[in-house]
Symmetry: C2
Subunit: 308 residues, 2 copies
């Protein structure tokens, strides 16, 4: 079996040995050094190569190197080739930790303490208990479900919202358009882990923000296009949202002139909430290589109608 | 039973109802409104009243409103009256969360991200895995033991150091003076949760810092007097210590002119790493009131020779 590898973030020298250790017969060609496009069975890519993979007539699978596929221009990819997202245990674990960190940061008032430190002021205040701190997780799939469970395990009062009905122990779940307002009204810390689809694009907007309690916090480790940036700036101005942690942006890298960088109520991180590692992802990828060669459905195969 | 209550931090209106709900016969007098000092059976105090409790001839117990007793001037208290620290489940839980937060903050490089944000720079870097991040906990008692277990549960590589030999699952424990150097050499994130005694005063000093790997992080939610402040400033200067989170200080509130406030590599929080709450502490206190009246040993009774 022979694959093409292409990424502007991932080092093939890190990934190829992990894959070959589990599948010695695998041959990997790193774009643009492709000997014969007809010999390529599958593509392992974060970003697509400029030729869009259309010149590879025997491609049996396109495997993303990330949890999403929004970095890909689907129209430029060959139609009918199964496409899969990459969900590995390390990705889920890192995202869960990011959410725990964010929830503790807000519950324990570390941002207030940082503001007081900047003014050399000692302001002692006991935080609201975790059991009285309501964390609302939007998206209850692989990542959102794991985050919601971990937050509940730590003792937060967790609510979840998803497109379809979900049941998670100790998490109060809300569903669909009619569930959004009752969910948002009970959310002190809002975490967005939705997939990016036509239905969720721009969902973090002024209509949603007005449903939140005054002084709510926003955490977005999902996708930048979930957020209407101007609506967040306005909500921070009125105090409807007290503070935000943003890890993803409509344009990445976030341009140097962007107002988020210097906003006193926004923490910017450079798309680091989660990441796959070669050692953790290799078993999932090798399984999907075997499935591709056998013509079987892929793990985490994308349903293009649903959008994820 | 009748007690005296005194604190410069805790509101008696919050504590008295929780205590009386569990012990209706309890009478509480808030200093300085004491009708008859001879009628007082026990003292519940954070800070001692100016009279030092020596004018209360029938005092059977002195109960601290905190985990430590270092806020008290022991010489001014009546000798021979049993003294107890207050360890309640909320205190342990809050301290554990503070340590999880601090470890994630450093492992996930949030301080580097904050420095990059201040410069409007997008610097993508994957963190070292938790299993390769060595957290060293000094002090393995009620608080340090709980923190070490929780950090190990989360996946960190945890080491512990204590005066006497301890055994904690998945925590590599080092003991006594001869164990300090091998412990410190393997510690990327050092968390101090020791009791403050003659033996631990000033233990966070240049000798210890020189044993740490270059670029180590220091977290001190213990007591301010554990730290030699000038040695920390010097270690931050050389880079031996890359960053510090300090919650306690030799002088509290930290004076406005103190260099820690504006140090770019120090996070100052106002002694909030942990705290008792009335609802969580009341059962422990009521148990100790009963023990005091019966002349039995107190929960968390202080051994004055040991110092905690």
């Amino acid at each position: 079996m022979k694959i093409i590898f292409n990424s502007n973030l991932d080092d093939p020298a890190e990934w190829i040995p992990e894959l070959k250790a589990r599948m010695p017969e695998l041959e990997v060609e790193v774009w643009p050094d492709i000997a014969d496009p007809r010999a390529i069975d599958a593509a392992l890519i974060w970003t697509q190569p400029p030729d869009g993979l259309k010149g590879y007539p025997n491609l049996k699978a396109i495997l993303s190197l990330g949890a999403g596929i929004n970095q890909l221009d689907l129209a430029s990819l060959p139609q009918g080739v199964p496409l899969a997202r990459l969900i590995d245990p390390a990705l889920t674990e890192a995202m869960k930790d990011f959410c725990l960190y964010a929830a503790l940061r807000y519950q324990r008032q570390f941002d207030d303490h940082a503001a007081a430190q900047a003014q050399r002021k000692w302001i002692y205040r006991q935080p609201r208990a975790k059991a009285q701190t309501r964390v609302g997780v939007m998206g209850l799939g692989e990542l959102g479900g794991a985050a919601a469970r971990a937050l509940a395990d730590l003792g937060f009062a967790v609510r979840g919202w998803a497109r379809t009905s979900k049941s998670i122990d100790r998490v109060r779940c809300f569903t669909g358009a009619e569930g959004l307002e009752p969910f948002a009204r009970e959310t002190d810390i809002l975490i967005c882990l939705l997939p990016l689809t036509a239905a969720t694009r721009g969902i973090l907007n002024k209509t949603l923000f007005r449903m939140l309690p005054t002084g709510a916090r926003l955490v977005n480790p999902g996708r930048g296009a979930h957020l209407i940036e101007a609506d967040l700036l306005a909500a921070l101005e009125t105090g409807r949202i007290a503070h935000a942690m943003l890890d993803v942006f409509s344009q990445e890298p976030l341009p140097p002139e962007h107002p988020f960088w210097s906003h006193p109520k926004i923490v910017v991180t450079p798309h680091v909430a989660s990441f796959c590692t070669a050692v953790s992802a290799a078993p999932v990828l090798v399984e999907n290589f075997h499935r591709a060669m056998a013509g079987r459905p892929l793990l985490n195969q994308v349903d293009l109608d649903r959008g994820y």
